[in-house]
């Protein structure tokens, strides 16, 4: 039964009789034979013929079997070429010598065809397996090299996107080991236009490339939104949405975000999934944990996302410490974890707050000791200070802030020719949305402007009576009439005037809209109860709820609302 491919087998034996028998047996097994009658010849033939297997007599003239075997194995290199020693040596010492010289097995004299057949089969299996392993090894090496290259590119992009922002401020110390970054840790910090600093410490699930990939949209969103004046909660919501949509289910980012106001000495915190940070108070050296109260970013839908934060009043010299779980889960040689208790200890033992940062790091590193594990440490410290002790930007903004106000006016008129095709609302809303502090009120302002414009256009310019809309039939009649009239209108106008003014504490938006219509008797209307549950009405009650005031001027063809908001600071 010959169920394998034909092999090329080298037979080396100095006794003609033995060699002849072996050659015949091997040929009968279906393989090709090359023969040598001394060790030197065996090695030469091995080099020139590259056989798949070697049958080698131990005792040969010129070069004995042991030396031949050594040379043959050397020439074979990575390839596994089985060498079977032909011997009637029976003492253990000689047999050991055979194996030491590189022999893989023995074939004893007298030769048995069955035994030789079995050994050829078995060693051929091994030889083929070894060849497969070599191919796979080379494949793996190639893949690894490619992966490393990809990672280097990713790291380059990552370093440029998730850069250090304002982490070099005078009141900040931080440490992110490269293993921590590899494990998905990320530290971002930027200055808001109002002089506050926003910091984000994030820890993505996963390691290496998958973790880094999540960090990039987070960093670009963060560094994109903050300088535009978006608030901490705006940014959190946006980041959460992005991660929820782009990351697969099960990948998320544990994070803590801070908003620090150096003028008002206030700290606002949101912690979703990171171990509790410590707030250290200089006055009594006490520590207060800043616990995780939220799910990590990227888990909840935008609807379910919670952005409520905690606020703290700080004094100069108070410090806030943030870390990912790398410190808590750092292991020593015995396999114990560092844990929060030891961290609390470090604070308790410390006598100089200036050294706290170093104390934490040195304690963790001492704990890890000589275990081969690299540091997986992310540590952030910020000290409450006056703006001039933070950085240039903080200082400049604080100087500007003293008694400063921003005010502007905007006028906009819609001419008759454009009524039927032009809707001014998107333009106006876009302008307003460029103002960072108004962004949270996007929806409300759109509603207010839409209500005012619709009233001005339909009731004022087109002269439609809102009472028509009281019944469902009347409703469709109304809109038919609206369509007709708007096609035909050739005179009239709607003027929109917006004035914006903001001070330190709050802002005011005054929206005045004037139409070319006859107006209405607002004194009478306002007296009666205006419900918004009916189809009709000017929606005045709705606007009254959203604005500080609503009033009509002149004939009733000028509506003015005042919208106020607290300046997020």
């Amino acid at each position: 039964m010959n169920d394998q491919r034909q092999l090329k087998i080298l037979v080396a034996d100095d006794t003609d009789t033995d060699r002849l028998i072996l050659e015949t047996i091997v040929r009968k097994e279906g393989h090709t034979v090359i023969s040598a009658s001394d060790g030197r010849q065996a090695v030469d033939l091995f080099i020139s013929e590259s056989p798949d297997m070697v049958l080698l007599d131990a005792l040969m003239p010129i070069m004995d079997g042991f030396e031949s075997a050594r040379l043959i194995k050397l020439h074979a290199g990575d390839k596994f070429i089985p060498i079977l020693f032909l011997t009637s040596l029976t003492d253990n010492e000689s047999l050991v010598k055979c194996l030491d010289a590189g022999g893989d097995d023995f074939l004893s004299k007298p030769y048995s065809r069955i035994v030789l057949q079995a050994k050829i089969k078995s060693f051929n299996r091994m030889r083929e397996m070894n060849a497969t392993v070599m191919v796979q090894r080379d494949e793996i090496a190639k893949n690894n090299a490619r992966l490393l290259q990809e990672q280097m590119v990713a790291k380059h992009v990552f370093d440029n996107v998730a850069h250090s922002g304002c982490l070099n401020s005078k009141n900040i110390r931080y440490f992110l080991s490269s293993l921590a970054v590899f494990n998905g840790d990320m530290l971002l910090a930027a200055m808001r236009p109002n002089g506050n600093m926003i910091v984000l410490l994030g820890d993505f699930t996963g390691h290496g490339l998958p973790a880094a990939i999540g960090a990039m949209p987070v960093a670009s969103t963060f560094y994109g939104m903050i300088p535009k004046g978006f608030s901490m909660t705006d940014v959190l919501k946006e980041i959460n949405n992005k991660l929820k949509h782009i990351l697969p289910v099960g990948i998320f980012c544990c994070a803590t975000m801070l908003d620090i106001n150096f003028r008002k000495k206030k700290l606002t915190v949101w912690n979703g999934g990171l171990p509790a940070g410590f707030l250290y108070r200089l006055a009594d050296h006490s520590i207060h944990p800043i616990k995780s109260t939220h799910l990590p970013l990227g888990v909840l839908s935008s609807r379910a996302f919670k952005d409520n934060c905690e606020e703290y009043d700080l004094a100069n010299g108070d410090r806030l410490y943030l870390w990912s779980d790398g410190i808590h889960e750092a292991r020593n040689i015995q396999g114990d974890m560092f844990g929060e208790a030891k961290l609390i200890d470090v604070f308790a033992q410390n006598t100089d707050p200036e050294k706290l940062f170093d104390d934490i790091i040195s304690n963790v590193q001492a704990f890890i000791g000589d275990s081969e594990k690299d540091d997986d440490i992310s540590l952030f410290e910020i000290r409450m200070a006056d703006p001039q002790d933070v950085n240039e930007y903080a200082y400049e903004t604080s100087v500007k802030k003293e008694g400063s106000a921003i005010a502007w006016d905007l006028s906009f008129e819609v001419k008759p020719s454009s009524f039927k095709v032009f809707d001014p609302l998107p333009i106006l809303i876009n302008v307003i949305m460029e103002i960072p502090s108004l962004r949270p009120y996007n929806a409300s302002l759109y509603t207010i402007l839409a209500e005012l414009y619709t009233n001005a256009l339909e009731h004022g310019v087109l002269g439609l009576d809102s009472a028509m809309k009281k019944s469902p039939d009347g409703f469709s009649e109304y809109y038919e009439l609206r369509n007709q009239r708007i096609q035909m209108i050739s005179e009239g106008f709607v003027k929109i005037h917006i004035s914006y003014c903001t001070e330190d504490i709050n802002g005011r938006l005054v929206i005045r809209i004037e139409d070319s219509g006859p107006g209405f008797d607002y004194q009478k209307k306002l007296g009666a109860s205006l419900s918004t549950s009916g189809y009709s009405g000017r929606g005045i009650a709705l606007m009254e709820r959203m604005c500080e005031s609503v009033r009509y001027i002149g004939k009733g063809n000028i509506a003015e609302v005042v919208f106020v908001w607290a300046n997020d600071d």
């Binding site: 820890d203 099960g250 979703g272 999934g273 995780s292 799910l295």
Partner: protein, 101 residues
């Protein structure tokens, strides 16, 4: 780490038992325990009695189970949690998404 599961006689309730470390190496086995079940269970229990350690990829796997079980409509209990496991789940505020005992 070993993952086994058992179902109630009518197949409506499935309990998944996790032994040892619950980490990324459990990924495929964990999924096999709840995917393609017939009938589709209406309630899932994850029993962590034998679980010594939970890492963030395990949290991720729980989220995958939740997604599979209907997201906000899912009914998943995580039971027999040790103190350590409870702490990890608490930091991530997973009690907002799962019933934890």
């Amino acid at each position: 780490m070993a993952i086994t599961s058992s179902a109630s006689p009518d197949g409506k309730q499935v309990t998944i038992f996790i032994q040892g470390r619950f980490d990324f190496s459990s990924h495929q086995d964990f999924r096999n325990a709840y995917e393609r079940l017939n009938p589709t269970p209406s309630q899932y229990r994850v029993d962590l009695q034998g679980t010594s350690y939970l890492d963030s990829s395990a949290l991720g796997m729980l989220l995958l189970l939740r997604d599979h079980a209907g997201g906000d409509q899912s009914n998943i209990q995580i039971v027999n949690c040790s103190q350590d496991v409870k702490k990890i789940l608490a930091i991530s505020n997973f009690e907002q998404l799962f019933e934890i005992y």
